[in-house]
Symmetry: C2
Subunit: 553 residues, 2 copies
C-alpha cells in the first residue's frame, strides 16, 4: 500500500468460526500476518483431513509479504504455517515453545531452512514497517502472548487466545500492567478473543483442576489414565507434578502426546526426569498403582489413544476393574457422541471414569465476560473487533463492550475476507477480498473443491448406480443388454427387481435414441441419467449418483 | 413359553442408547411388547432416515405376539409401530393422545384397520395372560404413563419416560400414591428411565419455563418466534397460554408442528380457538407485535422451520431487527453444530435469540437422581433394570440405587437382546437373542445392511475411481487404452497426472495378464484393483473405491 497514513486489517480466518485464525495487517511497509492456523472439517466435508484459510489474498500480494507473528503454538494459530511457508519464504516470529512446535511441524513436511525468529515476553521486533511487541498472557499452553502493533496508522492490539490466571501453573499472571500502559498510550483498535464471550463471570484458574487430580491420585488403588489435549501442556504438567507427589511413573501414549511432551521437555517447559518416564512397551511391567498414563483421545477421535483403550484395541493398554480414567477436557461441540462412546466403553470394561461436567476435570483457557471487561477497561480501545468466534460469540463480546460504553458504531463484527481500513484515527470497511476455505485431503493438497464435496455427499447419502452400455459407434445402436451395478445404494436382496427394471429403462432409452440416430454420447448419457433417475426415485425414493458409461464397439 | 411360573423380559432397543425403546415381555400367555420406538441415525449411517430395533425376535415368535402397550406418544416409543403392525396384526394399547399420534402415523403409511385400544389413567387391561395397569406420570407430553404388569412370575413395573412435576402444565402430578401402593403390593422388578441419571438433584417444573416466556412476551416489541419439539405439547401449550395473556395470535410452521397441534386440539389437549390461529400464508399480514410463530427446527435440522428462517430460505417468515427468537429446547448431543449454525444465522439477520443454557428456556422431561430415589423408595423393587440410556447413564442409575441399599447383585445392566428370566421371585440372565438395528432408508425398506453402510462410508471419504477396459473375450487382450474416471476423489486440476498414471498402470496390468492368458474376468478385476490401489495410495495417499469394469468385445 502506498498511502503512508492508512492501514488495512484483513482477517482471512477465525471470524464466524472457531479455528484457522489468520489476519493480514497491511501498512505502508508491506503485509504482516498475525497467526496462521488451521481448523478441523465439519460433517459436511467428508474425507477432509484439515481446513486452512483460503489465502488467495496472500498469493495475490505475495510481493508485499514481510513476516508472520505468532501469538502461541496451538494448531488453530500455527497449523497453516507449513502450507504458507511452502509458498512464501518469510520470517516467523514467536516464543520459544511456539517455534518449537512449529519446527517439529515443518520437519514433518520436509521444510528446511525456515527463518524462525525467537522472541521473549516484552520484546519488540520490527517487520514490514511495523513495530510488534509480544506481551505475556495466560492460556492453556506456555509461551502465549498478545501482540501490540505500532503501525503508521496507530496502535493495534491483538489479544491472541487468553485468560486471566492469577495462579497459573507456569510463568507469571497475564501482564495486565503492560495492558494498562498500552491503554494510556492510546489504543486505536483491539482485536479480542471472543471464544468464551457467552459465559458470565470469570474462568477459574487452571490450578483448580489440581484439586480434582490430587483427590484422584490419593484415592486410586489401581492404574490412573488421564486423557488431555496433547497441546494442553499446562494440564500435562499438572498431571506430571501430581504423579511426582504420589510416586507414580508417567507413561505416554498417542503420537501427538509423545511429540509435544518431547518438545516441551527439550525446551525446558516440562520437568520429567528420564527415570520417571515409562516406555509404552513396558507399561504392563509396572504395577498398576505405580503408574499414570497420559493419553490423547479426549475428544473421542476414533483412532486416538483413549478411544482405542475404550474399544479394547489399544496395543499396550487394557483397561478394567480398579482403573480410574480422567477425561480432562470438555467435548468440542459436535464431538459429544464420540466422547460418549469412549465413556461408555471404558465403563463397560469396569473402569471408573471422571469427566466434565460431572467432575471438575477441566477449566477453559479463554476469558469469560468479566475478564473481557477488565481487558477492555485497561486498553480503552477506540475500536473493538471481536475475533476468534462464531457470530453468536462475536456478538456477545460486542454487547459486553457496549455495556461498558463503547459505542456500537465503534465495534466492527467482521467476516473472513472483510477489509477494515484505519486512517487518521478512524476506521471504515472497504470492499471484501476473497476468503473461505482450502480443504486439505489425504495427499496434502490444499484445494479439494466444493464439487468434489458435493459428489462425496451424494455418494454417501444414496450411493451410486453405474450403467455400462455397449453401443455401435456408427449407428448408436445398443449391442446386448446394458450392465448395471450399484455401490452404497441398496442391498441386492432388497432391490426387489430394481436391477431388472433399470436394464429395461435403459434399453428403452437407447432404443429411442437409436431411432433418432443420436450418436452424440453426451446426449445419450443425459437421457439415460434422466430416465433412470426418474425410475429409481419413483421405485426406491432414493437418488443415487448415476454414471452412464458408453463403450463404443 | 410353556413354563407357568417363568417370565422372560427381552429388551430389543433402548439399552446402551437413547432411543428406539422396545421391550418384549414373554410369559405363559404369549409375548406383550412395551413400546415400539425408533431412533435417529448417527454420523456413521450416511443416507439413513431412521433406525428401528432389529425385531427378528418378534418374527421368530410371531405366533406368540399378543399386543403392544405404549407408555406415551414420543417417536422413541411409538416410531416403530407402523413397521411392526405391517408384519403383525396385534392390538395396541395407549392413552388417547398417544393413540392419536399413532393413528396419524399409520395414516401416512397407509395402514388401515389397526386395532387401537384406548386406555385411561388407572385402567387395567388383560393381554397375553398379563394384567397391565396404566399409571399417570409427568413427562413433556400429555398422556404419559408408567405401566405395571401383573404377570405369572410377579409384579413388574415399567416407568416409561417420567419426571416428577408437582405443578405440571396439564393434568395432575405423577401418581406417586399408586407407586406407593405398588411398593406395598411387592414389586419384583422395576425397569426405570435412566436418561437423566447423571444429573444430581431434581429437574425443575415445566412451569418454570413460563417465567422466561412471560418476560419475553412482556418485553418484545416485534415478532416472537418460538422453536420447540413439535411433540413437546406442554411447551407448545405454554406458548399458547402466554400468547393469550398478551393478545398475540399464533402461527404454526413446520409439518410436524402443524400435525401435532392439530391432533392435540382435536383430542382436547390444546385449547386454541380457531380465530387465534393464523395460516402460514397470512403471517405477513399480521403486525409483528400481534403474533407469535411456533416452529420446528429446535435441533438445527437443515430442512426444519427455524433452520430455514435462519438461512433466509423460509417461504413465509423473514426474520430481522426487532424480532425475538426463543429456542425452547436443549441440543441433543451431536446436534450442537447445527443449532449453533441456526443461532448464528438468526443473530446475523438482527434477531435477538434466547437459548439454553444462557436463558431458562428449557427444562428436561426426565427424572434426575433425587426423583429416581423417590421412585425407588416408593416401589422398593427386588430387582432394578435401568433402561432408556447409554451405558454411562444405566450405570449411574445403578449407583444411585446401590446408594439406597439395593444390592449390586439385584441390579441388571442389560443390553439389547439380553434375556432376563424371572422365576420363583428370582432373576437370572439367559443366553441373549439377536438384536441390533434395522436401518430404514428412503424407500421405507427396513433392511439396509452394514455392507451398504461401509460402501457409503468409503465413497464419502475418498470417492470412487472407475476403470473401463475393453477386452478381447477370447484372448484376454486389451483393446485400446482403458478409460478411467473418478467422482468425489480429487479435482481434475489437482490430479496432477494421476489419470495418465492410472491408465499406464492398468495397461501394464492387463498386458501382464494377457501374457499369462488369463480370461477369468474376476481375476483380472482383482489384479487391476490391487495394482491401482497401490499406485493411487502412493501417489495421493487416498483410497478411493476402485471399480474395474471389463467390457468384452
Amino acid at each position: 500500500m502506498s498511502d503512508k497514513n492508512a492501514l488495512q486489517v484483513v482477517p482471512l480466518g477465525g471470524l464466524g468460526e472457531i479455528g484457522k485464525n489468520m489476519t493480514a495487517v497491511r501498512g505502508s511497509g508491506g503485509i504482516v500476518l498475525v497467526d496462521a492456523g488451521m481448523s478441523f472439517p465439519d460433517e459436511e466435508m467428508p474425507g477432509i483431513d484439515l481446513v486452512l484459510p483460503d489465502f488467495t489474498y496472500l498469493r495475490e500480494n505475495a510481493g508485499e509479504l514481510r513476516g508472520i507473528l505468532l501469538t502461541h503454538g496451538h494448531e488453530d494459530h500455527v497449523g497453516a504455517i507449513p502450507y504458507v511457508l511452502r509458498e512464501f519464504n518469510i520470517p516467523v516470529y514467536g516464543t520459544r515453545i511456539t517455534l518449537g512446535l512449529v519446527r517439529s511441524k515443518l520437519q514433518e513436511f520436509g521444510i528446511k531452512n525456515a527463518d524462525l525468529r525467537e522472541v521473549v515476553d516484552g520484546q519488540r521486533v520490527r517487520v514490514g514497517g511495523i513495530n510488534a511487541e509480544f506481551i505475556h498472557v495466560n492460556h492453556s499452553i506456555p509461551g502465549a502472548t498478545a501482540i501490540a502493533l505500532r503501525t503508521n496508522a496507530g496502535l493495534i492490539v491483538f489479544s491472541g487466545d487468553y485468560k486471566i490466571d492469577f495462579t497459573p501453573i507456569e510463568g507469571p499472571p497475564m501482564d495486565l500492567g503492560r495492558f494498562a500502559e498500552l491503554g494510556k498510550e492510546g489504543v486505536l483498535a483491539y482485536f479480542g478473543d471472543s471464544t468464551n464471550s457467552e459465559r458470565p463471570g470469570y474462568v477459574p484458574s487452571e490450578r483448580t483442576v489440581a484439586a480434582t487430580l490430587g483427590k484422584v491420585f490419593e484415592e486410586a488403588q489401581g492404574r490412573i489414565i488421564v486423557a488431555s489435549f496433547a497441546s494442553h501442556l499446562h494440564r500435562v504438567a499438572q498431571v506430571v507434578e501430581t504423579a511426582k507427589k504420589h510416586n507414580r511413573l508417567v507413561g505416554l501414549t498417542g503420537r501427538s502426546m509423545v511429540r509435544n511432551v518431547g518438545i516441551a521437555r527439550e525446551l525446558g517447559y516440562l520437568d520429567i526426569p528420564d527415570q520417571m518416564l515409562v516406555d509404552q512397551k513396558d507399561f504392563s511391567r509396572i504395577p498398576d498403582k505405580d503408574i499414570v498414563i497420559l493419553t490423547t483421545g479426549s475428544q473421542g477421535e476414533p483412532l486416538a489413544g483413549l478411544s482405542r483403550i475404550a474399544a479394547g484395541t489399544h496395543r499396550s493398554v487394557e483397561v478394567g476393574e480398579g482403573d480410574t480414567v480422567v477425561i480432562a477436557a470438555h467435548p468440542i461441540p459436535g464431538n459429544e457422541p464420540g466422547v460418549s462412546r469412549t465413556i461408555n466403553g471404558l465403563m463397560q470394561r469396569g473402569a471408573e471414569v471422571l469427566y466434565s461436567p460431572l467432575q471438575r476435570v477441566h477449566v477453559s483457557g479463554h476469558a469469560a465476560q468479566e475478564e473481557q471487561k477488565l481487558v477492555l477497561a485497561l486498553l480503552k480501545p477506540r475500536y473493538l473487533v471481536p475475533v476468534h468466534g462464531e457470530y453468536r460469540m462475536l456478538k456477545h463480546h460486542a454487547q459486553t463492550a457496549m455495556s461498558m460504553g463503547i459505542p456500537e458504531s465503534n465495534i466492527f463484527i467482521l467476516e473472513n475476507g472483510s477489509r477494515l481500513e484505519f486512517r487518521d484515527g478512524n476506521a471504515k470497511r472497504l470492499k471484501s477480498v476473497s476468503a473461505g476455505m482450502f480443504l486439505v485431503d489425504g495427499g496434502g493438497l490444499a484445494d479439494t473443491s466444493e464439487s468434489v464435496m458435493r459428489d462425496r455427499q451424494q455418494l454417501s447419502g444414496d450411493g451410486m448406480f453405474i450403467v455400462v452400455a455397449k453401443i455401435n459407434s456408427k449407428t448408436g445402436e445398443l449391442l446386448g443388454p446394458p450392465d448395471v451395478m450399484s455401490r452404497g445404494f441398496m442391498d441386492q436382496q432388497t432391490q426387489n427387481g430394481t436391477v431388472e427394471g433399470s436394464v429395461e429403462v435403459v434399453t428403452k432409452t437407447l432404443e429411442r435414441t437409436a431411432k433418432r440416430n443420436i450418436t452424440d454420447w453426451s446426449q445419450l448419457k443425459t437421457e439415460i441419467r434422466r430416465d433412470l433417475s426418474t425410475y429409481l426415485s419413483q421405485k426406491t425414493r432414493k437418488r443415487p449418483m448415476i454414471l452412464p458409461l458408453i463403450v463404443e464397439v
